[in-house]
Homo-oligomer: 204 residues x 2
């Protein structure tokens, strides 16, 4: 009952998509910077050299991966925010949408916060910077909107609160990556968010 490996010739576009998918998968298991092109090739029953038919350099692969992550993440976050009743509720929905997204793709925080990518100057770093600062700005913007509705105090520093928000996600990810699994992440997130919210809200 041998599992017949169907060797199929794929178009470069298809293959690029599969490389990205496999790269994300492997990064979740072994960490970003220890994923080799050999690993990727093996994971998709291909020779290592074949990968370079579809990407000029390995960095280009990671660049494409980050772009893929950005699109998926932004879509999820926008969708979550769309259903919100008020700015604070939007932040809450985005938070849990983000946590759920991370649960499904454990490699993502490792990608965005990985050392390798951060240090290299160039397109990769610039791309990641853009994602993070854009995210931060979005949260800060929602907090400003919340101010206008007196949901949060006027003297709240939106930028600092946004940093705390992102740090909260980082902390949760790290804690679950070290100690628990997926369930732990969701449960812990549900218990941690109220504390953040409490620190931001106007006291009634």
């Amino acid at each position: 009952m041998n599992q017949e490996i169907v060797k199929k010739r794929m178009s470069s576009e298809e293959r690029q998509g599969e490389i990205i998918r496999v790269a994300v998968e492997l990064a979740a298991d072994k960490g970003v910077d220890s994923v080799t092109t050999q690993d990727m090739a093996e994971a998709m029953n291909l020779t290592q050299g074949a990968i370079f038919r579809h990407f000029a350099t390995k960095d280009d692969i990671w660049f494409a991966v980050i772009v893929w992550v950005r699109e998926r993440l932004m879509k999820v976050l926008d969708k979550a925010a769309a259903d919100a009743t008020d700015p604070l509720n939007a932040i809450e929905r985005m938070f849990f949408a983000h946590i759920t997204f991370i649960s499904k793709h454990p490699a993502i925080p490792r990608l965005l916060f990985s050392e390798l990518l951060h240090k290299k100057n160039g397109k990769l770093r610039q791309l990641i910077e853009g994602i993070i600062s854009g995210y931060e700005a979005k949260i800060a913007g929602l907090l400003e909107a919340a101010k206008a509705q007196s949901l949060v105090p006027n003297d709240l520093d939106s930028h600092s609160a946004a940093i705390l928000y992102i740090g909260m996600i980082q902390g949760l990810v790290m804690q679950s990556s070290i100690f628990g699994g997926k369930r732990s992440l969701q449960q812990q997130a549900a218990k941690t968010f109220p504390i953040f919210l409490y620190g931001v809200k106007t006291r009634s």
Copy 2:
């Protein structure tokens, strides 16, 4: 006016200390996992092979580095907490002591949260786990003490708040590592901590 490089034979103990020092330095510049034994050797005017007179493996170097960091950090934190007036004040003092410590040694968060160290199972991961969970427990313990003094509400989840605390530090470090410098870290920390505190405190 050539700078005379004093080539001095050092005892293995002395040399170990210098290797640790140099490793921390280099990790701050290039990121932990791209520091090679060759880099270390060059930074201390030594041949690469000589390093292995003092450490059996490269992992042993990082292990020693983490131990060094733990001792220094714990000393700083304990000293900060000792002068505190109450548990919440202890947390505040520890926070700013930690931020100051990081300002002086930018490599430290990179070490504790680096991918390389996290993934490898074994002594390194165990050591780092111990540091983080110990830190978390210390914060949670202070929060429990604060509960007894009604400084924080009884229904506060200390563990979750401790995660938020550590995440806050991570977020600040990441943000300053991407955007600003040391001054930015200190200033931003001063603006962010009150939000955390506000989320934890009993409402008067």
